[in-house]
């Protein structure tokens, strides 16, 4: 039996509505959408679905033998409290990295290319050991086909290890930095 893990992170910036009635209605609607998605995944034997609509993004992943828990930004009206079967943390400021306890979170490369730790050869690196990062902090550049892509931390915390070597080739999913999340 494969368990289905729902990972939701809550974006603050939207006010949690005080009108419980409308919040519940929205919640019901979204939960039933989720159920539909899960059923669809089961029917078609899918492993992962990512749905993006404007600023909203939903990622549903089926548990795999080697589990990876990754943070996914935003989901609808901010609702605190536990969802049945969810492994989400409580609402907090910004995005949260859901990490296994006592193990640092990893910033992985979303691209294939060349890793650069600093914006230009003679400038200071974007981040170093001990640097504080927020979700929008640029941590490095990955150059792919002559295009310089700024890579953001997508999490809040402190850099505890710079893993990738400056100027080295990196592949998709390669660990670039280790972060001690907030």
């Amino acid at each position: 039996m494969l368990a289905i893990i729902l990972i939701l992170a809550i974006l603050v910036g939207r006010q949690v509505t005080n009108r419980k009635g409308s919040a519940m209605a929205q919640w019901d609607e979204q939960f039933s959408k989720l159920k539909q998605i899960i059923e669809m995944m089961k029917d078609h034997n899918l492993v992962e679905i990512q749905i993006k609509q404007g600023e909203e993004e939903l990622c549903v992943k089926k548990a795999q033998p080697v589990q990876q828990i990754t943070a996914v930004p935003m989901f609808g009206a901010g609702l605190p409290g536990a969802l049945p079967g969810a492994a989400a943390p409580a609402a907090g400021q910004g995005q949260e990295a859901v990490s296994q306890e006592d193990k640092p979170a990893e910033i992985k490369s979303p691209l294939v290319g060349t890793f650069y730790a600093q914006p230009s050869p003679d400038s200071e690196p974007f981040v170093e050991l001990g640097s504080r990062v927020e979700p929008d902090t640029v941590v490095c550049i990955i150059e792919a086909m002559k295009v310089m892509n700024e890579i953001k931390a997508e999490m809040s915390g402190v850099i505890v290890d710079v893993v990738a070597a400056n100027g080295s080739a990196v592949e998709y999913g390669q660990v670039l930095f280790k972060v001690r999340p907030d």
Binding site: M145, A169, Y172
Partner: protein, 445 residues
Amino acid sequence: MFSRVLIANRGEIALRVIRACHELGIEAVAVYSEADKGAAYLDMADEAVCIGPAVPAQSYLNIPRIMSAAEITNADAIHPGYGFLAENENFAQICRECGITFIGPPPEAMRLLGDKVEARKLAKEAGVSLVPGSDGVVEDIEQGLKIAAGIGYPVMIKAVAGGGGRGMRVAHNEMSFRSGFTSAQAEATAAFGDGSVYLEKLIVEPRHVEVQVMADGTGNVLHFYERDCSIQRRHQKMIEESPCPVISEKVRQELCESAIRIIKHANYVNAATVEFLLDKDRHFYFIEVNTRIQVEHPVSEMVTGRDLIKMQLQVASGEKLGLTQKDIKHRGVAIECRVNAEDPANGFSPCPGTITRFIPPGGPGIRVDTHVYQGWTVSPNYDSMLCKLIAYRPTRDEAIATMRRALSEFVIEPIKTTIPASLSILSHNLFVKSKIDTEFVERNF
């Protein structure tokens, strides 16, 4: 010759290309998705780069990631394999613009032959028979009768706007043509709002016969004879063989020369397969061109003693093949069986899972092309083909016997595979006598 080639594919064809590269002294770069991480064939490449998650759109179909991988590994050329980006003219164009050689046809030739309508025009110009038809809308019954007489019965009356088998009638003679024409028009009007119909010759009991071609870019176009791929299920080939057991030497020559004419006419370079339908009177009709190397290429390799993938690399790097058609001789019989992770007893539904016991066959007359080994996990993300088993013997009866023997030796546990279905087909009296057509499997199994 290239120093490094990146293979934009996975599984058995990736391994096939790695092997050809190594024999030519070329370094091979493999790319892989997270689903293929740890695959043993990746260790056979000189370098392997992860290009994305399992879903093909973000990995094997992701052009930016593949191009980046080529850039960081300093690949001079990319082999697209089959499927995925192999017939993507945009990809071929991008390779050209990035100064990386695409191992295949130039984008223009790919575009031209990839378009069915354009390809048919080209075939006609090259003097190759197409499935005879009315070349346009048939206005009335009298005109239709004239055209049908010219084509020869039976004919199919088809709705121009049609689909799903609607607005179609088969006519075997004048009388059935008259009634069929009217009712086809009526059905088409009702179903699609457009009663226009055209005519096409109905090929009865067609066989699928294709010709392997290689053009070296200096005007030298060679063929490597034909393959009969009539054993299909839902348009998926199951068993392929060479030579086609039912055509005369004369028909074979005409068939192969027609294929060459089409390829020459399109200014095509590198490997291609020209597909035809063969009717029961052994007339052949052009269908389409596949502008890539195909799954069943080993069949042609065995009967001609040539390595088509090495040739692809040589042609792409600008080397002349140094061969004439006279040098390419056909010898013996080769039969290929595809072994898929599908359950024939359950509508051929896919069977992903981990293979805990894998003992492939061997011995004389057997070639095994596979990326799979004991412990391999079949992922649901990609096609279900595990292995290509090829039997090569001096005669067809011997090849069939060797294939049956090999299939019976093959152990793949615990997942279900198509081995039992292949064994049934190979033992069927009609297959042995080669009294088959493209609907044989669906009628009998």
